[in-house]
């Protein structure tokens, strides 16, 4: 009983601390940190949406960047060519990406995991190459001059946009965690663990897979829209397979099939190279090695590691807990 109350208190404290950090960030730190933080948040969206596929439904997509790209281009083109307001661009990006996801899912979800991975990778490259060669999307020159959203009759500044991104990320992550705990989430887990068993229980596997695919692509599209709006200039070369691999790394390192895993993975992989800039030459190597190591030694990612087993960390935690307890009493 005591334990439970304590944990609840702790959880509140954590949420509060997180909120404060996130909210004061633009005021304490410079625009540079803000920029990085927004990238990290966008990657949280991407990693969480990919995690829906890999972690919850056992669908391995290697072409997630394709949907991100569709979202970014939809939003950018609507904003620059048709002067649409941000809200429309934003949701249109999600919808179009979801549509693309539905199409890809419809044709490719029948394949087994490995073939699906390669098919999606191929499709994402096809999307990129078509965009690169099409005049409508401005070809290789990219789309320039994408405006920040407007409100109260003026365009947002970067700090305000930062808060907008924060709100969106929080909503998406909370919804994902709700989904994971719901009946649907449990059904997906069953499909992931044993497709045949799920089928024998009368689960319409294709329907569920399709649903999660569409949802995941919708989120990736939203992330694309945020990216395009924030960076104000996009180019098809930003959407290569490397991005897919980075997202996969985030999910694998953070922890597949958990809500916090991709969030942690995204923040860590975005921030780490920033403050160890002298290591930036090693950035991609570290990604590669981290994937291999985490799959081998921590298949559940950082979230799944029992940190308390490591003596030093355990001692630190104990120290911290006694202090907290003292304050409480």
């Amino acid at each position: 009983m005591e334990r439970k109350r304590y944990s609840k208190y702790n959880r509140l404290l954590v949420a509060l601390a997180a909120l404060i950090i996130v909210l004061i960030l633009p005021y304490v730190f410079s625009g540079y940190i803000l920029q990085i933080a927004v990238y990290a948040y966008i990657y949280i969206l991407l990693a969480s949406s990919l995690n829906l596929l890999i972690g919850y439904a056992g669908i391995f997509s290697m072409g997630h960047v394709g949907f991100y790209c569709v979202g970014a281009y939809t939003s950018a083109l609507l904003a620059t060519k048709l002067d649409m307001p941000f809200v429309i661009c934003f949701f249109a990006a999600g919808l179009l990406a979801a549509l693309a996801g539905a199409f890809v899912g419809f044709v490719a979800l029948r394949l087994n995991d490995i073939f699906f991975a390669f098919a999606t990778m191929g499709l994402s490259e096809v999307i990129r190459i078509v965009i690169q060669n099409s005049d409508f999307t401005n070809g290789t020159l990219g789309v320039t001059g994408i405006p920040l959203p407007e409100w109260f009759g003026r365009s947002m500044n970067r700090e305000e946009f930062y808060y907008l991104v924060v709100v969106i990320v929080v909503i998406v992550v909370v919804l994902i965690s709700k989904l994971a705990k719901s009946h649907t989430g449990r059904t997906l887990a069953m499909i992931r663990d044993d497709q045949n068993a799920a089928a024998s229980l009368g689960v319409n596997i294709f329907k569920y897979k399709m649903m999660v695919m569409v949802l995941s692509c919708f989120i990736a599209g939203l992330a694309g829209s945020l990216y395009a709006t924030f960076i104000q200039y996009i180019n098809a070369s930003n959407f290569g397979i490397t991005v897919s691999i980075n997202i996969i790394a985030m999910v694998a390192i953070g922890g597949m099939g958990t809500v916090s895993g991709p969030v942690i993975g995204a923040i860590l992989l975005q921030l780490l190279p920033e403050y160890i800039r002298f290591l930036s030459n090693f950035r991609q190597i570290i990604y590669g090695a981290a994937i291999v190591i985490s799959i081998m030694f921590a298949p559940k990612g950082l979230v799944g590691i029992r940190w308390r087993r490591i003596k030093l960390i355990d001692q630190l935690c104990c120290l911290f807990e006694t202090k907290l307890n003292n304050e409480e009493s």
Partner: protein, 292 residues
């Protein structure tokens, strides 16, 4: 007409490289039902080792072949121990992600050591040409085509006429029953995997010689395209993979003629996707063995 034959020659030369890589995929898929995503990286390592040999030791084509073979074999052996043996029982997705990580690691490590820029490779053969009715075939192309064919024939001999080859075929048909026949399944898988690495590395060497350059990311596209080629011809059948490799090379070259080089990569991806959807077992593969 000249153009037609010239594109055919180009396609066959390039197709040879794809065929070797496709075999590499097919060997691994056969014994494990899995795909080694880092095949392209091993291709690059093969190119790298021959580049090193030529730069620092001696400019010898055949020595390069030998060294590339060895490097590919050893790297793939180690990879199998890491990504597959060590985590056997983990999901197939985990293994695939592991090979992606490995591939990333190899590419970037090489990029760090030797730079990301393209490096020149020595010329082994004169550019003497056989010009026949306006169709030009360089000595290098000829050597390349012949070498690839020799390797493919040797491989077929190995798989169909030797004891280890018999074990590989048996394991790829039924792993469990193979064990009951007294076949060491793990060792067989390991050998097939290493052999696949050796094939990929030799393809890399050929690529480096043909294009006379080596760079850290050179394995990326051939790696993916030859997977498409393997799917096209039949991932579960070695002759299928070879056929797929050659056909893919030829289709790509004619595709360039008809469309444009900018869409070259799209061609192979679309062929792969169409085949995955319509005929996942490929041209020569049998339906039963493709685990869908």
């Amino acid at each position: 007409m000249t153009m037609f034959f010239q594109q055919l020659v180009n396609g066959i030369t390039q197709g040879g490289l794809y065929a070797l890589l496709a075999i590499a995929y097919s060997l691994v898929y056969g014994v494990m039902g899995l795909v080694n995503f880092s095949t392209g990286s091993i291709y690059m390592l093969g190119a790298m080792s021959s580049w090193l040999v030529c730069k620092y030791i001696i400019e010898s084509f055949w020595l390069s072949v030998l060294i590339s073979f060895g490097v590919g074999f050893v790297v793939a052996f180690v990879l199998e121990k890491i990504a597959f043996s060590a985590i056997r029982g983990a999901t197939r997705i985990a293994s695939l992600i592991c090979t992606i990580g490995f591939s990333q690691f190899i590419n970037e490590a090489v990029a760090l050591i030797f730079g990301k820029a393209t490096q020149g490779m020595s010329t082994f053969f004169d550019q003497e040409l056989f010009a026949f009715l306006g169709v030009h075939i360089s000595v290098m192309q000829a050597v390349l085509v012949v070498t690839v064919i020799i390797i493919l024939v040797a491989l077929q001999f190995f798989v169909y006429r030797t004891r280890i080859g018999l074990a590989i075929r048996t394991v790829s048909m039924d792993e469990k029953t193979a064990g009951l026949m007294g076949i060491n399944v793990n060792r067989t898988i390991s050998i097939a995997f290493s052999l696949s690495g050796a094939c990929a590395a030799i393809a890399g060497l050929m690529g480096a010689v043909y294009y006379r350059s080596f760079s850290a990311y050179m394995g990326w596209m051939p790696g993916i395209k030859s997977f498409s080629a393997a799917v096209f011809g039949g991932l579960s059948s070695m002759p299928g993979a070879i056929l797929g490799g050659y056909l893919m090379g030829i289709i790509e070259n004619f595709g360039v003629q008809v469309f444009s080089t900018g869409y070259r990569d799209v061609i192979s991806f679309i062929v792969m996707i169409v085949f995955l959807l319509v005929r996942p077992q490929g041209i020569l593969g049998s339906k039963k063995k493709v685990k869908l």
